[in-house]
């Protein structure tokens, strides 16, 4: 049965259905409805909702719950995520699974709450300190947001790597019909023998992100990077739309990805052979499929609500095989489909 839900609420409900039983937060717009939904529903369904005294506290509570083997989540928006970055780096270092939702606003600084995509670098290239990666998933519809939250918990557990949902204010605030995925019974979640679940009858487990011996620490990190390489091999996700005969392919993710779908439809109506390549995993970035496409498509126009961040990954993937112009907006301004179409026309159809 389809229900009409806000993106923020659908992500919260999906988390509960994925077995999230500990949610820690510090409120911030434009993801307030996610917090409210968790406050209303999670305690009734056997979970813990806790509004912490700060973002730093919230992410460290996530660390604790994750170490204990519980499916756990936090959510925030750009400046709040910045505050959580130290804790996220610790989670990555200690190989603790957790889901972090970032409903981006326009930055830097306090910025504003309009839709923006300026946190791509922070999400995919680090943000916190040290050599680590997050699994980063970018939904473009409310349905996909619900599905990717469920997936984020599964992937995070499977690889013991924290996962981030990178959304924006528009997706958080808008309503769309959703077919909610079936709840996962807690007993079906694979056991976590590494968890700090009580050492009675066994040796104690340790959750730690450090080793003072460089050689030992190097081995830990090598093993971690083996896992990252495995994720790159197995978990790349993307959508292609009308790319078969395209002379120009738009590359866009999240909210911008769906707006570009409208651009493709309008362009096709005018006889322009335009397609869309929409990364769903921002890390691992779908480099290989994009590279393959670049052997026959001459122009890739990256469109972002930023000054050009994913654009770097597009250029690294295409490796000079095609032209790679960029079009973006700043400060929370969202370009209209017609504005993007005018940009498209600069590069295609004469």
């Amino acid at each position: 049965m389809k229900v009409l839900m806000r993106g923020n609420e659908a992500m919260a409900e999906a988390a509960i259905r994925a077995g999230c039983r500990c949610y820690f937060c510090y409120p911030i717009t434009p993801q307030g409805e996610l917090v409210e939904y968790m406050a209303r529903h999670l305690p009734r369904r056997g979970g813990v909702f806790l509004q912490a005294e700060s973002e730093v506290a919230a992410i460290n509570m996530v660390y604790g719950a994750a170490a204990a083997g519980v499916r756990t989540m936090t959510s925030s928006s750009s400046p709040g995520i910045s505050l959580k970055m130290e804790g996220i780096s610790y989670l990555a270092g200690a190989r603790l699974p957790a889901v972090i939702v970032n409903v981006m606003r326009a930055g830097p600084g306090l910025g504003n709450i309009a839709p923006a995509q300026g946190d791509y670098f922070q999400a995919t290239k680090g943000g916190g300190h040290g050599d680590y990666r997050l699994i980063v998933l970018a939904p473009s519809t409310v349905q996909e947001a619900a599905e990717l939250v469920m997936l984020a918990f599964d992937l995070s557990d499977r690889y013991r790597v924290p996962a981030m949902i990178l959304a924006d204010g528009m997706l958080g605030q808008m309503m769309e019909p959703v077919e909610l995925p079936e709840p996962i019974p807690l007993e079906r979640i694979p056991p976590k023998p590494w968890a700090l679940s009580g050492a009675k009858g066994r040796d104690p487990n340790v959750a730690s992100s450090f080793d003072l011996d460089p050689h030992r620490f190097r081995e830990i990190l090598r093993a971690l990077w083996d896992v990252y390489r495995e994720i790159e091999r197995n978990e790349v996700r993307w959508e292609e739309y009308e790319t078969e005969d395209a002379e120009l392919v738009l590359v866009a993710y999240g909210t911008m990805g769906r707006i570009c779908k409208t651009v493709v439809r309008r362009a096709r109506k005018e006889g322009l052979r335009v397609g869309l390549f929409r990364p769903i995993t921002l890390w691992p970035f779908p480099s290989e499929p994009l590279r393959k496409l670049a052997s026959r498509v001459p122009v890739f126009l990256t469109v972002e609500l930023s000054a050009g961040q994913m654009w770097e990954d597009v250029r690294l993937s295409v490796e000079g095989r095609a032209k790679t112009p960029f079009y973006g907006e700043l400060g929370g301004v969202v370009p209209t489909p017609d504005e993007i179409l005018s940009e498209v026309k600069k590069h295609v159809g004469g």
Binding site: L4, P30, M174, E176, R258, I259
Partner: protein, 178 residues
């Protein structure tokens, strides 16, 4: 088919609710929909608007640059969104609060005294439903019952029979005047 409808007015006029009821009704009748509210500081400034897209394929942009239908419940909304309505589209405006009709010859202009009608029905807050009723007629995609059902679902039926009845009347008045 992808139709954009913008509802706009003062905060408190039930703008977001009217849009939500339309989206709910369209979804129940098998259409793809999106509902996008204005949020944040804009709302605190006293204006509210929402955009509903109704389509027969998955909706691309939930932001509509050229709406086919505008419901303007006050003057500032008409000034702001009136010029954006697509040629051949429809502007429904609240003639109770707007003195001058919009200066467009390429769209259908539909003045409705939404406040007066609502007051006649004994419920000033039902003005939004007059506008919504007109939208349903103009769209011609589904019968008015789809919307009355969705409204009942949204308002919650228990103990609110009078409110539901009045809103039904308001929808009907808007529908028949369009």
């Amino acid at each position: 088919m992808e139709i954009g409808v913008i509802f706009a007015g003062f905060g408190g006029q039930g703008i977001l609710l009217a849009g939500k009821v339309l989206a709910q009704a369209a979804m129940e009748r098998g259409f793809e929909v999106t509902w996008l509210p204005s949020y944040g500081p804009e709302m605190r400034g006293g204006t509210a608007n929402c955009t509903v897209v109704v389509a027969d394929e998955p909706v691309g942009s939930p932001i509509v640059d050229r709406p086919q239908v505008l419901v303007a419940m006050n003057g500032p909304s008409l000034e702001r969104f009136g010029p954006r309505v697509a040629p051949g589209g429809v502007i429904i405006f609240n003639s109770s609060l707007v003195a001058a009709p919009p200066n467009r010859r390429d769209v259908r202009i539909l003045p409705l005294p939404m406040n007066e009608i609502a007051q006649e029905l004994g419920e000033a807050r039902a003005a939004n439903m007059v506008g919504l009723g007109a939208v349903v007629k103009v769209l011609g995609l589904f019968p008015l019952e789809a919307v009355t059902e969705a409204m009942a679902k949204e308002l919650g039926a228990r103990g609110r029979e009078r409110l539901l009845a009045v809103n039904r009347q308001a929808l009907l008045r808007g529908f028949s005047l369009a």
